[in-house]
């Protein structure tokens, strides 16, 4: 391990406000023309809803997303009551009805915007631990912890690191400081500033991010110690040097967004730069082949792994597969072929363009796959020799903790990172000029909507907020390291498996009919 890593300290959160002038909050506060610009509200509000600058005396539009809402009524600084002109009105923001979906409800989106802005957990009463999907993580809860187990240690003293190489094969033991690394989003699918921003965040947090299958832009080279090179069926820009740059090489056999199908990059996003990187034709849609036509057996797969290991003596090999019925067998096969990491990608996740029929219907949700694989690896006596990474539909810090308690060592995060960059999940990543909000686009104008510094800090902030939640859980169960949580299914309950009198002790699963 390099000195740099040994002395690693987690970064600090830095306030990184939204790119947009009108932020969206759970509550909305309106100022009428009766306002006389006396400035009292700005003096009163400790959350910064009302802002006022010394050299500008007109009232400024309130920052809705900072407002803590009706519960503020109890406070003596409640602006609506204190306004001498009764010029302020507080309401629930009706626009929330039109945002979000069953998996990422509006409040979860807003809470992640807030975490990415402040690096802290939101002060507004937003539900960000549970979605509205009515199953899986949304029905799994941590048991109420016994107060006797609580240990009073600071976040700094809690270990949230994960060792990615447990094989003891002499290759580096790469330790990442948070139990998450970034999922593959290719050059071509996202803006370059997003890729580099994610890589910079990975460096700051001492974790990794992944190139995706679209090649290795030179802008990523400065962060190469934190960038996984993905080898997918398209083999775009997989070259000797891009393998040698990487600490980890990831074979993408399948992906949760579209299990059983190859990567999709629709024609409009294949700009001259993307085409040059992938050595393809501008404007022509790229549907990666499926499967790897060089792999039809575990022996073939071993050949792949050996090939990578020969190219670089320091790399670790990760095998990314989706979740078919026999995912446990596939995982064991990957282990025997010499992989260091088995990465299972559940069917409800993914960021990239995928046929809707595949996203909804093909392969099993990750909640089932984690315990299935974990159990099988245990029975095979292989569990302590391989790092099990889960992804696909892991949305928030609690999902991460639940996935770990179900049996994963760590997780891969894609969607939440781009939500930190203010993705609102409108799902139009693939069409026309790409993402209207400048994240998943290669359009020359739209891709300039973010800077890599802003992207970096927003992602760092979100993970810092998440870490606070993990530390809270660990402390309550008397654990000092997140490694102690792995496979602790005894700490979990599922609402559908509890008797009525037990079930009422836990927060019910949100169930709201939505228009999506």
């Amino acid at each position: 391990m390099s000195d740099k890593k040994k002395n690693f300290k987690l970064p600090k959160g830095v306030e990184t406000p939204s790119r947009f002038r009108n932020t969206i909050g759970k509550y909305t506060i309106k100022r009428s023309s009766a306002c006389i610009s006396c400035g009292l509200c700005a003096e009163l509000c400790p959350y910064g809803v009302h802002q006022r600058y010394d050299n500008y005396s007109n009232p400024i539009r309130p920052k809705d997303h900072k407002c803590i809402g009706f519960k503020c009524k109890e406070n003596d600084f409640f602006c609506v009551d204190r306004c001498p002109q009764q010029a302020l009105t507080l309401r629930l923001n009706p626009i929330l009805d039109t945002m979000g979906d069953y998996r990422w409800p509006a409040e979860m989106l807003l809470a992640h915007f807030e975490m990415a802005e402040t690096g802290d957990l939101p002060k507004v009463d937003l539900e960000y631990d549970l979605g509205n999907s009515g199953g899986g993580f949304d029905k799994i809860r941590f048991k109420t912890a016994d107060p006797k187990n609580y240990i009073d240690i600071s976040d700094e003293d809690i270990d949230t690191s994960v060792n990615l190489n447990k094989t003891g094969d002499g290759r580096p033991e790469i330790v990442i400081s948070i139990p998450c690394y970034g999922g593959g989003m290719s050059y071509g699918s996202t803006a370059l500033s997003v890729m580099t921003g994610r890589a910079r965040a990975a460096e700051r947090l001492n974790t990794l991010t992944c190139t995706g299958e679209g090649g290795y832009p030179s802008e990523l080279v400065p962060y190469k110690d934190h960038v996984i090179t993905q080898v997918a069926t398209g083999l775009f820009a997989v070259r000797e040097e891009t393998i040698q740059y990487a600490p980890v090489v990831e074979f993408k056999y399948a992906q949760g967004a579209k299990p059983g199908l190859g990567g999709h990059l629709l024609g409009e996003k294949v700009t001259p730069e993307v085409a040059a990187m992938r050595e393809t034709v501008v404007g022509s849609s790229l549907f990666s082949p499926f499967p790897f036509h060089s792999v039809y057996s575990v022996e073939d797969h071993k050949k792949h792994v050996d090939w990578m290991k020969r190219i670089s003596p320091r790399i670790l090999v990760s095998v990314k597969v989706s979740t078919p019925t026999d995912v446990d067998m596939v995982a064991v096969g990957a282990y025997y072929a010499g992989a260091h990491i088995i990465h299972i990608d559940g069917s409800y996740g993914g960021t990239g363009a995928a046929p809707d029929i595949a996203k909804k219907n093909i392969a099993m949700p990750i909640e089932y796959a984690i315990p299935k694989v974990h159990k099988f690896l245990l029975e095979e006596g292989a569990r302590d020799k391989i790092c099990l990474i889960a992804s696909g539909g892991i949305r928030n810090a609690m999902d991460v903790a639940k996935a770990i308690a179900l049996g994963a060592d760590g997780v891969v995060i894609g969607t939440a990172e781009i939500v930190a960059l203010e993705c609102i999940r409108c799902t139009n990543c693939e069409s026309g000029r790409g993402c209207a909000r400048g994240i998943a686009t290669t359009d020359p104008e739209l891709s300039k909507m973010t800077t890599e510094e802003w992207n970096e800090q927003r992602i760092v902030n979100m993970y810092l907020a998440w870490r606070k939640q993990w530390c809270g859980i660990l402390r309550s169960f008397g654990m000092k390291s997140i490694k102690e949580l792995v496979g602790r299914t005894d700490l979990l309950v599922h609402l559908d498996y509890l008797d009525e009198d037990e079930r009422v002790k836990y927060q019910p699963a949100p169930q709201k009919k939505m228009i999506i």
């Binding site: 056999y253 399948a254 059983g260 057996s297 575990v298 989706s322 209207a436 599922h494 609402l495 228009i515």
Partner: protein, 466 residues
Amino acid sequence: MPKKYNISVKTTPPRFFPVGKYTTVEFREDCAGSCRECVKKKCIYGIFKENYLHMLSMHDPEYIYNCQSCLRCVQECTKGIFSRVINPEYRELGDEYWNADIIHRTGVQAHTGQVPVSGSGYRGPFVGEGFDSMWTDMSEIVRPTRDGIHGREYINTCIELSRRPRRLKFNKDMSLAVDAPPIFEVPVPVLFRQPDFGVLSNNVLMSIADAAHKINTMMFIRPEDYSEALAPYSDNLIPMLTKDNYREFTDLIQKSRMIEIAFKPGIENEIDKLRSLKEGLFISVGMPLNADAASRSLELAKADVDTLHFYADNHGRETDSENPRFIKEMIREVHLKLVDNSIRLKVNLVFSGGIAMAEHVAKAIICGADGVTVDNSLLIALECRMCYRCRQGLSCPVKLEDVELEYGSQRIVNLMGAWRNQLLEVMGAMGLREARRLRGEVGRSMWFEDLEKENFGPIFGEKKVS
């Protein structure tokens, strides 16, 4: 080598703006008027471009349909005059089964002929009722997937509607010693059925028949709606006859390759009489999908029938039951009854009712169907909004009566093209190259109850809520 089967799609825009999901609301009195930063000019989808039209000529504003809900106008307007709401009309669209989402997606597929693709992962509930409580499997490494969707590997979606001999016998010279019935294939496992409501004008029926002809599938049609104009499509039409009326339609039988006769006790005895009317006639027996369906199917399979056609209700539920089961369970029951009696291979099973999305086709086949029929989706492809006004004799908001043949037929062809490509996606992921191999292949599916039991059972114990 025969030409690969392909459904030729062509962009066919709707005649009316479909009911859009979102609409922006502007509080115009707050607009600065000339701030020069107007977000309307910057919309990347250009939805406000023809904003003036609806002011001038009372058109529906197009941005109700075209808004892609990026929220940039809401968040960037210098005065914050925009907000967004869900279109109240969209909320009311359809009913609890044929919901707004299905109507919207069907419309888009009929427009573009493309597989719906989007980013950002799945957005729906974890599990649902009916077909939504099962997942299809995929292959990994050792069971190779098939690269079908872009034509790199050929996946055959053809099914048969003709009966098969139970066993073959050969003469000494290796010629067949049994009569092998003729083979009747359709290239897609989706047949059309005349919907049981809606504005079924001649134009609508012609459009459906023409689409059936173009993609070479079959359409079930009531004989009383059979007009002269439909005669050119007779090869693709299956008149739905009864024991009592088939003698009145002998002309029609002569023109048809296949007919359907409604089930009645003793119908087995009519089959020979029907066959004597036309040589090589394929015969389907239609019956309600109720508690008797499985036992009836066994009786009929033993008779000389080609296809059994079961009708569930409009929402895919068992009929004649107070506590109806869903079509997926019913298909299992009928299919397994025939499998247990070693006669499944002799007949073909077609199911109607509640088939609303491409995934339903694949899932119905996995449960044991050979093919399915679509009904309401055909109308939705022609822009029907499932408002059921026509049932009360009121006017149709999308003037289905005026549908032009070419437009209507292409919209249906587009929908089928998109559905077939989705079927290829799912089959390719499963590593199957034959729709006929998918039939009853529950091993290539995962069911909610099983997954919960296998994976959560050992952790959480017994399930208390179903």
